[in-house]
């Protein structure tokens, strides 16, 4: 049955609440309004305002409150209204949510799900389109998950709510209303498994969240250039599935990592670093990266220039040294600097 990612997420919340009394959902505007993206639509009407409720407008408060609720035995699922509006909660996330199990030698666990609608492509004004996954992925103790398909949206969110660890659940806003056939309740691969979304022999595109559809589109377009590209959807950034990714790259011998976030010190850097560490002798070219630019997320009219699109991916694939020649881009600069 065709449904949207937004509806799948909503169904996951509803089913989790129905299955487990301890699940409570709260945040800004998640109650009667059902969330600005309607992900919590109908939950308050169905489960009452003790199970799904609005809070004061304060994100550190929301996350810290969730910590306390988790200590009392509940299973809070909180919504940050937009990516950049989770930053006020950063201390609570980094210093408590991520660390409480560790600090207490496992005596306290905080199985909280922090839902973060993230990334751009929806014409949002400033502060509404940040890609913030790297901040969380770099923070030990957090699991970081991002679905790219409707079925994964349902399945990964159910798993996140059931997981004994805190999960930062990054929802690609631009995919909320993309629809696909999915029989809910769907169960897909568990946390820690990447999935080959499209098999291919010539090179591997590794992507996650909002970049997955771009990778698939690029792979399709690449056929015209004679390249048969494999697309791996990372799904869970933490824990990361080295096995699937390296197996793919060892098969293809070439790899491009795609993320929407600004590139510098992002998750794509980690993936590129890991892949070349583990697949060095299989690589015919360096692992290349395609990402957003290293700039603050731009205004709506300029976002298409910022966002890594099919062309940028194909340009990069073209640089995978198919002729086994070094990348010309780096040569002049090098000679200059070596001089």
């Amino acid at each position: 049955m065709a449904t949207t990612m937004a509806k799948a997420l909503n169904a996951a919340l509803a089913d989790a609440m129905a299955d487990d009394d301890r699940v409570v959902v709260f945040g800004e505007d998640v109650g009667q309004l059902g969330g600005v993206f309607r992900i919590t639509d109908g939950l308050q009407a169905r489960f009452g305002d003790r199970r799904c409720f609005d809070t004061p407008l304060a994100e550190a408060g929301i996350v810290g409150f969730a910590v306390g609720l988790a200590m009392s035995g509940l299973r809070p699922v909180v919504e940050m209204q937009f990516d950049a509006f989770a930053y006020p909660a950063f201390e609570q996330i980094a210093s408590h949510v991520a660390k409480l199990r560790n600090r207490t030698r496992g005596a306290l666990s905080v199985p909280i799900v922090i839902r973060v609608p993230f990334a751009g492509g929806i014409g949002g004004v400033e502060h509404h389109c940040d890609s913030s996954e790297a901040y969380y992925a770099h923070t030990p103790g957090l699991k970081v998950v991002t679905p790219a398909t409707v079925a994964d949206a349902y399945s990964l969110l159910r798993e996140a709510i059931a997981d004994p660890d805190p999960v930062v659940f990054m929802e690609p806003k631009k995919l909320y209303f993309s629809s696909a056939d999915a029989d809910l309740p769907a169960r897909t691969e568990p946390f820690g498994r990447a999935v080959v979304r499209r098999p291919g022999r010539d090179a591997t595109l590794v992507a996650y969240g909002p970049a997955v559809p771009v990778a698939l589109e690029a792979a399709e377009a690449a056929r015209a250039e004679g390249w048969d590209l494999e697309v791996v959807d990372v799904r869970t950034i933490v824990p990361f599935d080295d096995e699937t990714v390296t197996a793919s790259v060892r098969r293809t011998g070439r790899c491009v990592v795609i993320q929407e976030a600004q590139g510098f010190a992002g998750v794509g850097a980690e993936i590129a670093a890991r892949v070349q560490e583990r697949c060095f002798h299989a690589l015919h070219a360096p692992v290349l990266r395609v990402s957003g630019l290293d700039i603050p997320y731009p205004a709506p009219m300029l976002e298409h220039t910022h966002l890594p699109g099919v062309d940028r991916v194909l340009d990069t694939v073209a640089r995978l040294q198919w002729d086994d020649q070094p990348d010309a881009r780096w040569l002049p600069a090098t000679q200059g600097s070596a001089a």
Binding site: T55, V125, L302
Partner: protein
Amino acid sequence: MTTTPRPVRRASPRTRRPATPPDPARPLLPATEPVRLLDETGTPLPAHTDYPEPPADVLRELYRRMVVGRRFDVQATALTKQGRLAVYPSSRGQEACQVGAMLAVRDTDWVFPTYRESMALVSRGLDPVEVLTLLRGDWHCGYDPAARRTAPQCTPLATQCVHAAGLAYGEAHQGRDTVALAFIGDGATSEGDFHEGINFAAVFKAPVVYFVQNNRYAISVPLSRQTAAPSLAYKGVGYGVPSEQVDGNDPVAVLAVLTRAVAHARAGNGPFLVEAHTYRMEPHTNADDATRYRDGAEVDAWRDRDPVSRLETYLRARGELDDAAVAAVADEAEAYAAALRERMNAQPTVDPLSLFDHVYAEPTPQLVEQREQVRAELAAEQEGDA
């Protein structure tokens, strides 16, 4: 372990000490009722000893700007329907606050608006197209904040409260008598940055007026979910900041209270907190559906307290306004809207390469590299198009 307290017999049982010292909270607390100079029909109330009424010429100017401001606001909402604006948060119903605040400050003062203050900014004299740039989507801030002494319209809620404290302190530090006026909504007072900002201002005696437009909603969330306080103005005393509440739909009272608050700050007495009780007549933005969380009866009740007609009634009664004057202002408002409409019809062009211009004073080598890449991409696109 629990203890059940019980009274103990004492040597000389007496009651609590009789003479209590003067209550230090008293001068900081707001009056228990919002200040009002006009009633809901526009009839003047008994003279207020603390808040003398602003002069008539200023009130006529207030009226003029409120009418123009409202027309601007309606036009902006219309522009969203025509796809000329990505989004617009209306301040309809809050005209007394938006415009009154701008008449209370000097051109040399700094204003720290939120996304909802478009009307205030055009009322301050900023170019409406520049004000709407953020919402049209060609850049984040369309005006020059330094030149206009107006911070960018702030989206991350309450963060501007801290900037205002710093700006005001920095100006005073450099011997200038600038006042900073920081707008904030009822919902945003729940954020930590509101607390930290007003506290910094109080500790450093920085000349800031914190102006809370309590329009009773934060998107869909009603005031009762933001606070259990008697009212938001009661937050002042906890920072040692004097505070007042005002009927935010009474333009005369808003202007009077803010004028005094600004004078208090400018005189070196530190910050002042004003809470205006008002109402957001429209949905949060054009993208919001307010019928999901409030009913029409509530909105209708507030329609009866309309600040524009209230001021009009009053000024007419006082003989400060007649049909001709009202018509002239209406014409001015129409002309303003028409000019705006026309200018907004032009599709703005933004150079994609300008993306790299203002990340740092000078682009880093990494950005130079990325700019070259984008330049090549654009060239290839054009070739593809050609």
